[in-house]
């Protein structure tokens, strides 16, 4: 492991964390909305949220590239209003990781919310609590384990993301290259030993994340 390798690992971990910061508010809101409310078009939202799980990741990447490119609707606005470029920067990495791991998080958190008996929420309301307070003091603490397990799963998924990342962020060493992309590049360059070293590091991190996540879900029962 060279200094550059350690930097690569650090960057990948930081990007996975950054994607979690994007996922948490959006994912919690979505999961709660899906678990507690019924509305017209709910099935459509459910499908859209799950879609990145089953689509080829490069397709998700392609969609993101279109949306966030400098000429895309979101990317163009960000560039003009704030001078922020997304595509082929670290921001694109975080965005791609978030889009790919959001479905996993939403599924886990939604199940966790559904397992919280609404009687506790109703009782909190009779005690004068508003909806925000009910969520943060009753629903979320009671769903804690499931939400945490979902967070770890999302984190592990983000660390392994390849297809969408390479589409929107490319492979710019030191700037957008993540572990999986670096492994692919190493194999392309015939540096098999280097690829195996990075693969080993990936495996250790993924193992730890899934192990803790499984433990959390086991203890819930």
């Amino acid at each position: 492991m060279s200094g550059a390798d350690w930097q690569l690992v650090g960057f990948s971990l930081r990007m996975a964390f950054a994607s979690l910061l994007l996922i948490l508010p959006v994912g919690l809101a979505l999961a709660w909305w899906l678990a507690r409310k019924t509305w017209r078009g709910k099935a459509l939202v459910e499908t859209l949220v799950t879609l990145p799980l089953v689509l080829p990741p490069v397709v998700t990447g392609l969609v993101l590239l279109q949306l966030f490119g400098r000429r895309g609707p979101v990317g163009g606005w960000l560039h003009q209003a704030f001078g922020i470029d997304v595509v082929f920067t670290w921001r694109a990495v975080a965005l791609a990781l978030a889009a790919m791991s959001l479905p996993l998080f939403v599924r886990a958190a939604r199940t966790a919310f559904e397992e919280v008996d609404v009687k506790f929420e109703q009782l909190a309301r009779t005690l004068g609590a508003g909806e925000w307070r009910v969520f943060f003091t009753i629903t979320l603490p009671l769903a804690k384990r499931g939400v945490l397990a979902g967070t770890l799963l999302a984190f592990a998924r983000a660390l392994g993301e390849f297809g969408a990342t390479i589409m929107v962020a490319g492979n710019i060493p030191g700037r957008t290259t993540t572990l999986p992309v670096a492994i692919y590049a190493a194999v392309q360059n015939g540096e098999d030993a280097h690829a195996w070293t990075l693969a080993g590091v990936s495996a250790v991190i993924a193992f730890a994340a899934v192990f803790v996540s499984e433990n959390l879900q086991q203890r819930r029962k």
Binding site: K119, Q122, L123, A124, R125, T126, L127, G128, G130, I138
Partner: protein, 371 residues
């Protein structure tokens, strides 16, 4: 009940379920028991009052304040109103208590006091803990408490906010029998001390009599009689209420004559005397209701006694019911009597024993037969 604090008129139907109707419900300032068999709609009525269910239409008013209003005719209306649970200032205790499993006893009790400064909240929680004898348990989690302790924590959590109305759903049903009997008296005393208008749901008539000032009887999703607890239980207005309140002897009879406010009624092969004050003048067919605890048994008919109804009877069977024995008799019609075990032993009762059954005229209740 003219001094009603709460009036309710509403309908609520769950998809595929029976229609629940609160028909001109008047709740007084004391303890009102919603009484009925399971499935009679007691809990639904209570949840609608708590704001946890929205009726389909109708009106709920508490102390002049409208909690719910929706007209039956129009779809939407500017007069429509639904005051959410958190604004009704009710104390709600569900049947299984629903204590927050992740919060300590103190955390549970203090949950509804979050708007108070920390010191004041702690003082209020401590005061309530002391009052309910929960000192020393404040750091326990709900699962570390006994059933009786959980019940008191749930009550504490509801009353610590000083609600305007207290709603209790089968507060004793989750407890084992000895604890339930012990807490029944205790609960009545606590509710008396609080002086908060209280609505309590139960299917147990002893609980209803022990705890309630007023009783509302629910049958098939509709309130069928309301009034003073002892009156409802001794003087049911119709057959359904008599059956729900589990009057042991209910027999069809025919009025032979009415004189001086007393009715002579033929029942089976026997006759009896009852008060006729509440009967319509043209009543002929009636149901005769006699509570088993009002029946007196004697071995021989030798002494003079005041009860107007005395029948030669034969013991058919003896059935233990808790601390009492239910004696099933044939006195020209089937009659049941409750006796203590020692009374049974003293009289030497067994199947076939000839006895004399006595019932005072005011304890025979007549319900006019409605076709």
């Amino acid at each position: 009940m003219n001094n009603a604090v709460l009036t309710a008129n509403f309908r609520k139907q769950f998809p595929g379920g029976p229609e629940i109707v609160a028909d001109n419900l008047h709740i007084g300032a004391g303890i009102t028991v919603l009484f009925g068999a399971s499935g009679s709609g007691k809990t639904t009525v209570l949840r609608c009052l708590a704001g946890l269910e929205m009726p389909d239409d109708g009106e709920i008013k508490f102390a002049g304040e409208v909690w719910y209003r929706k007209s039956r005719k129009r779809k939407a209306n500017s007069q429509d109103l639904f005051l959410p649970s958190r604004k009704r200032q009710v104390g709600f205790v569900p049947q299984d208590y629903a204590l927050f499993p992740h919060l300590t006893v103190a955390g549970n009790i203090g949950y509804g006091l979050n708007e108070l400064p920390d010191a004041e909240r702690a003082a209020r929680v401590a005061e309530t803990l002391r009052w309910l004898g929960l000192d020393g348990l404040e750091h326990r989690l709900p699962r570390e408490l006994s059933g009786g302790q959980q019940q008191r924590v749930a009550l504490a959590r509801a009353v610590v906010r000083r609600p305007k109305l207290l709603l209790l759903d089968e507060p004793l049903a989750a407890l084992d029998t000895p604890t339930r009997l012990r807490l029944r008296g205790e609960l009545r005393q606590l509710l008396r001390q609080l002086g908060i208008p209280t609505i309590l749901v139960t299917h147990d008539r002893f609980e209803a009599l022990a705890l309630g000032d007023d009783v509302v009887v629910l049958h098939d999703g509709r309130n069928v009689q309301q009034g003073d607890a002892s009156k409802v239980f001794s003087r049911p207005e119709n057959l359904a209420v008599a059956e729900i309140t589990a009057i042991e002897t209910i027999q069809a009879g025919t009025i032979l004559e009415t004189r001086d406010g007393l009715a002579t009624v033929a029942v089976g092969d026997a006759q009896l005397i009852a008060l006729a004050e509440d009967l319509p003048a043209d009543a002929r067919e009636v149901y005769v209701c006699i509570r088993a605890e009002d029946v007196i048994l004697m071995r021989a008919d030798t002494v003079q006694s005041s009860p107007r109804n005395r029948w030669a009877a034969t013991v058919l069977s003896l059935v233990r019911e808790g601390s009492l024995v239910r004696v099933n008799l044939d006195c020209g019609f089937p009659l049941a009597a409750f006796l203590t075990q020692s009374a049974c032993a003293d009289l030497g009762l067994h199947a076939g024993t000839p006895v004399v059954a006595l019932v005072k005229a005011p304890q025979v209740h007549l319900i006019p037969f409605v076709r």
